[in-house]
């Protein structure tokens, strides 16, 4: 059946098709890529030979074949001059193929394109409208600025005095000209204005597009065209309220394409202008209520209406109407419409928060949608809608989502949940429970800072220590595969193990454990091959700490510690050796050293000494030395130890070193100690680039880590002036498809004379892999004056490892 149709087509067709069809058949017959290439090369050679010969009536066939070959991806540049020749031919077939060839093979950079200017000029005044249209189409496709300047008056003439077939094409040709040579906009403005009176939809459409282009380029023209808003409103009314019109009907809507265009033009005209916005208010309400949204065509119009309403200065009733339309879209069966709705809601959730909140239920339901992109949108919207009022119920949904969400969304979900929990947690217990739930469900996808953050949170919730350690112990004996959870659990048990052993707890069912049980749990972690080196370090330290919290089994601890003194892992070995020393030579200090820790202050300087000095091993060594220096009574006993390790003489503030967990932040004083511990290799800090230096304030940027789809960078600010810099704020902007998350800065005061610094970590998620750029605005107060500067960052240094 198909072949018959082709055959009948070929007899009716214009001649080029026959030879072309033969060639296509031959190419399709080729069985391998190599064979196909062979066929095509032969054909191209034949075509080239024929081009060199005089006109033998086959030129258009050959060019047609060449264009087909070009579409398959083979080179066809030798056909360019042939296009020029064919365009100049008087026969329509040849002109047609020539112009098509020009559109496909020529662009401004080729010299040949200039040669067709004259042909186009002549053809624009040809007596056949089809030839005119060829010329218009080609000019609109590949006309250079020169050609456009040359031919603009012709186009203007055609815009005024020709039939509607030509007028509509001329209008779009004018659009191209204006894009190439913006100054020519003024030339077309009067003609564009008068075209609005036409009845023909094609011409109207072209006119609206042309006016849109003119207004977007020139604010004065925009001002002028505001006067036609009433006219546009009339045209729209006509389209919306008219009955069935067979000419332009698409699924019951009268010319939806034209409606969409007019709505967009109205949007541009009404933006930031009260009068124009008022004039279109009624119309927009009418379109919103009268358009049937059961099919896509109607939804397209409604969608454009919503966008327009949100962008102009509309009254609040209209805005609510628009948001409700989006809410209705969410319930639509067609997933395309649901997706569109999500995207739009996301754009307006900040500005019309309350209106969107009303649809929270539907949005949360979309978390269960099949389509991954709808899910992602629903997640982002849900996170944006979290508030103090709905945190409990919304978090339930989010946690449910987390247990079944696609892997690529997990990291985003966990960090979103953590942020929301931090901002709106109704109670500390709820907060801790939530974080633990997340760790149990998706502990492998949380960010590194989660562990120290959770620990900090636990220490501050002093009444809940008993509850927390019970919960974590239970989690630990169930499953030790999730590293983040295990680390926190070990730390907790080490710290609050005595509460566990006491066997009583108000908040939850107490466990009946013996000291051996607890030590068993920790040893299991130590010995398991699932535990990472960092985790084992946690476990060993926790075991050591228990030596002051338990009474009977201290010997067992002693033996564990001495076994690990010969462990292959250097880090563990180091710790074990030092703990051994603590048992043997410095036993009198042990209790003080392993005392309960004070509450960790969140924005401590410990966070800010930002040079991440390389691997975790380094950090753990610093950790140990920090612990040693930690206790509040820096009595004489401790000084000996400090001297042994060659530490800095000045007392380091306890809050600064309370960061005893291996995390990305470290303390630079650790660096000194390390140096004196026998020339240990501190790997160099990753290269940091200076991005801003003014008034004594320097801002450096370093890349902490980088993947295909994102990176983590740290901005460090220092101050070399004599006075403190206060009220430091950093703001950042990134390209549209990149997601930005700025962590809390370490502080907003940079001490004078370089005695301290402020850091802020920024996470960039770049799923579309566009080139990353960032603009950072720096604001601060220096010596009473407020300074503000913006820097553009176009390239990022590579991470150290």
């Amino acid at each position: 059946m198909v072949m018959n149709i082709s055959m009948s087509c070929s007899t009716r067709a214009m001649s080029p098709s026959v030879r072309l069809q033969e060639m296509i058949r031959v190419i399709r017959g080729a069985r391998t890529q190599g064979e196909e290439r062979g066929v095509i090369q032969r054909e191209c050679a034949a075509i080239r030979a024929q081009f060199r010969q005089a006109d033998n009536g086959t030129r258009s066939h050959n060019l047609a074949k060449l264009l087909y070959v070009h579409m398959l991806g083979y080179p066809a540049h030798f056909g360019q001059m042939e296009c020029v020749r064919l365009i100049a031919s008087p026969r329509y077939n040849e002109k047609r193929v020539g112009y098509l060839g020009a559109m496909m093979l020529l662009d401004e950079k080729q010299d040949a394109s200039l040669l067709i200017t004259n042909s186009i000029k002549n053809d624009l005044s040809h007596n056949s409208q089809y030839v005119q249209s060829l010329a218009l189409c080609t000019l609109a496709c590949m006309g250079s600025a020169e050609m456009c300047r040359d031919l603009a008056p012709e186009i203007d003439r055609l815009l005024r005095a020709s039939n509607s077939y030509i007028k509509k094409k001329a209008a779009l040709c004018a659009v191209h000209i204006v894009r190439k040579v913006p100054d020519l906009g003024e030339l077309f403005t009067p003609a564009a204005r008068s075209l609005l009176c036409e009845k023909n939809h094609g011409v109207l459409h072209g006119a609206v597009v042309l006016i849109t282009e003119l207004c977007e380029r020139n604010p004065d023209t925009l001002e002028q065209f505001r006067k036609v808003v009433p006219e546009l409103v009339q045209i729209m009314k006509g389209l919306v309220m008219s009955g069935y019109s067979p000419e332009h009907n698409v699924a019951g809507i009268s010319d939806p394409f034209l409606q969409v265009r007019i709505l967009r033009l109205l949007r541009i005209l009404g933006r930031n202008n009260d009068t124009a916005s008022d004039a279109m208010n009624d119309l927009l309400a009418q379109v919103a209520t009268n358009t049937d949204s059961s099919k896509t065509a109607g939804s397209a119009v409604l969608y454009e209406t919503v966008l327009t309403v949100m962008d102009i200065k509309s009254e609040s009733g209209l805005r609510v109407l628009a948001v409700n339309i989006l809410g209705r879209f969410l319930l639509n069966n067609d997933r395309n419409i649901r997706y569109i709705s999500m995207t739009s809601l996301q754009k307006i959730v900040q500005t019309d928060h309350n209106a969107v909140q009303r649809h929270r239920g539907t949005i949360v339901d979309c978390l269960k949608d099949q389509d991954a992109s709808v899910k992602r949108r629903a997640l982002e919207l849900s996170l944006a809608l979290v508030s103090a009022v709905n945190i409990r119920s919304l978090m339930k949904e989010l946690l449910l989502f987390l247990s079944s969400c696609p892997p690529e969304l997990r990291a985003h979900t966990t960090s979103g949940i953590f942020n929301a929990a931090e901002r709106y947690a109704p109670s500390q217990r709820w907060h801790i429970d939530t974080i633990l739930h997340v760790l149990t469900t998706a502990g492998g996808d949380v960010r590194d800072e989660t562990v120290p953050n959770l620990i900090q949170l636990i220490t501050t919730a002093t009444e809940l220590h008993c509850y927390t350690v019970h919960k974590l112990y239970r989690a630990l004996i169930t499953d030790i595969s999730v590293q983040s959870l295990v680390q926190v659990a070990c730390w907790c048990i080490g710290e609050y193990g005595d509460l566990l052993l006491r066997g009583e707890c108000e908040e939850t069912e107490p466990v009946q454990v013996t000291e051996d049980d607890v030590l068993d749990a920790l040893e299991t972690v130590l010995q398991s091959h699932m535990s990472s080196p960092a985790t084992r370090g946690f476990a060993l330290t926790a075991t050591m700490k228990l030596s002051t919290r338990i009474t009977h089994n201290v010997d067992r601890i002693r033996s564990i510690v001495s076994i690990y003194g010969s462990c292959i892992d250097v880090e563990l070995q180091q710790r074990a050796v030092e703990y051994n020393a603590l048992f043997k030579k410095y036993d009198h200090m042990r209790a003080a050293v392993l005392e309960r820790m004070p509450v960790i202050d969140k924005s401590s300087p410990g966070h800010t000494n930002g040079e991440s000095a390389g691997g975790i091993k380094e950090l753990e060594q610093t950790k140990l030395t920090q612990e040693v220096v930690l206790p509040k009574d820096p009595g004489n006993q401790v000084c000996d130890l400090l001297d042994l390790l060659g530490g800095s003489g000045e007392p380091v503030p306890s809050s600064g070193l309370s960061h005893t967990v291996p995390g990305p932040a470290t303390s630079t004083s650790g660096g000194d100690l390390l140096d004196l511990l026998g020339g240990l290799d501190v790997s160099p800090a990753p290269p940091s680039v200076k991005v801003y230096e003014k008034n004594g304030v320097t801002l450096k940027l370093q890349t902490d880590s980088q993947t295909d789809t994102g990176m983590t960078i740290t901005l460090t600010a220092t101050n070399s002036t004599d006075g403190d810099i206060t009220s430091l704020t950093l703001q950042a902007a990134v390209p549209k498809s990149v997601q930005l998350q700025m962590k809390a800065p370490s502080g907003d005061v940079i001490p004078a004379r370089g005695l301290g610094l402020v850091t802020q970590t920024v996470l960039l998620n770049n799923p579309n892999k566009v080139s990353l750029k960032m603009r950072v605005r720096v604001c601060y107060s220096s010596q009473g004056a407020v300074c503000q500067d913006t820097v553009q960052i176009d390239s990022f240094p590579s991470p150290a490892w």
Binding site: I5, S6, R12, A13, S17, L20, Q21, M71, L72, G73, Y92, V97, L100, D107, Y130, S133, C137, A140, K168, L172, V175, H201, G202, H205, G206, V209, E216, H248, V250, V260, R261, R264, I268, T296, A300, E304, R335, N336, I340, D371, A372, S373, V374, T729, L730, Q731, A732, A733, V734, P735, K736, S737, L740, Q741, M742, A744, Q760, N768, K769, V770
Partner: protein, 159 residues
Amino acid sequence: MCVRQRNRLHLEVAMIKFLLMVNKQGQTRLSKYYEKVDIGKRPALEADVVKGCLSRKKEQCSFVEYKDFKLVYRQYAALFIVVGISDTENELSIYELVHNFVEVLDKYFGHVSELDIMFNLDKVHIILDEMIQNGHIVETNRNRILAPLLALDKMAEAH
């Protein structure tokens, strides 16, 4: 700490960037570019775009975010029609446009198939040029689109 996204100016003109017809094996049956794309870069772009669309599952929607613009695709039997549009263009409207295009082809060829398109590429180009010009819609009425082509067919027959 507030984060400000750069305010996207509307210099990002709403337009169609390209239109492709590709079959399930990834072979291009028709390609039309309305925005400057280096001739050398076109095969790579086509391959990439097609890969993105062919790998979509049935439950996923017809709009794909690709680099910094969007793709709208529809499947008709073994053919995919993929339209690349700028960020600011209305996706639903383009979705309708694609269907309109297919309906026009259907009317001209009578139950159009992939082979029809392959062997009559020049005519399909003519039809497309009547519908879309330099990235914007020119005409959507079926009869008006086909009128020039039918007239030319008559002229050819007469010769």
